[in-house]
């Protein structure tokens, strides 16, 4: 089946004018399925990390939000152990006026501003509220352990 024009346009723009610190590349065999990488924002516990995510545009996109989750382990109060993300614009506040680009920017912003008052990962949020410094240190440690750039295979 032909890919809707809207998705083609968005994909072209993502490739032509990528957002700094974010890449999204569609799979050749499924143009609704993207490999995403987000660089941890500066002066956040995720700085220096490269986080892999996967994104899928469901049949009724843009009437429903993209589906997205982290593939890289991350210690963050709004991301659960399976990488699912708690973010208003992915749920009730989704609007067809939003795009893949805006969603990825929102996720990058969420890395810069964890919100333990609206948690998905209860244990992480508790840790965050009880001892923010220790939680931030743990987030840094996980970034160093799990979110390091993979060495590129020699070409």
């Amino acid at each position: 089946m032909a890919l809707p024009k809207r998705i083609i346009k968005e994909t072209e723009r993502l490739m032509a004018e990528p957002v700094p610190g974010i890449s999204a590349i569609p799979h050749e065999d499924n143009l609704r399925y993207f490999d995403v990488e987000i660089h941890g924002p500066a002066s956040s516990p995720y700085e220096g990390g490269i986080f892999k995510l996967e994104l899928f545009l469901p049949e009724d996109y843009p009437m429903t939000a993209p589906k997205i989750r982290f593939l890289t382990k991350i210690f963050h109060p709004n991301v659960d152990k399976l990488g699912r993300i708690c973010l208003d614009v992915l749920k009730n506040n989704w609007s067809p006026a939003l795009q893949i680009r805006t969603i990825l920017l929102s996720i990058q912003a969420l890395l810069g501003a964890p919100n333990p008052d609206d948690p998905l990962a209860d244990d992480v949020a508790k840790h965050w509220k009880a001892d923010e410094q220790a939680a931030i240190e743990k987030a840094r440690e996980w970034t160093r352990t799990y979110a390091q750039p993979q060495p590129q295979p020699a070409s």
Partner: protein, 139 residues
């Protein structure tokens, strides 16, 4: 139709299983709730009524490989059971003997398989087969 990728399909199945939206007589969930690859699952089947299986609870393991749902998962009983489609030594279900596995379709889910297995247990040819002691498991 948009072709839903493996991981998002498994997340949907997980959410359905967690919310208990599926059939009451079967349940399933991730073996390890932190497994980002979501490969290994546990399932249970409540033995169908009016059969030797009535009131028994059967546990099984399901493995969804990289090619799921284009390829079916592998299914293995943990609880011992006597059924023609189940290997008596290790509990592995022979995919050739269960139609939903033999003629696998991408729309089939782990729930489809559990429900069909339960129906298979209640089939006239199988419902009176002598069974191992309740609660016994394969090695």
């Amino acid at each position: 139709m948009a072709k839903i990728p493996r991981n998002f399909r498994l997340l949907e199945e997980l959410e359905k299983g967690e919310k208990g939206l599926g059939a009451e007589a079967c349940s399933y969930g991730l073996e390890d709730s932190e497994d980002l690859l979501m490969s290994n699952w546990n399932g249970t089947i409540l033995g169908p009524p009016h059969s030797v299986h009535e009131n028994r609870i059967y546990s099984l393991k399901m493995h969804c490989g990289d090619a799921y749902p284009d390829q079916p998962p592998t299914i293995q009983f943990i609880s011992q059971i006597n059924l023609p489609a189940v290997n008596p030594r290790n509990g592995v279900v022979d995919p050739k003997m269960l139609p939903c596995l033999a003629q696998w379709k991408r729309e089939n889910t782990m729930e489809t398989i559990l429900i069909e297995l339960r129906r298979y247990m209640a089939a006239p040819a199988n419902k009176k087969l002598q069974q191992p002691p309740e609660g016994s498991t394969y090695e």
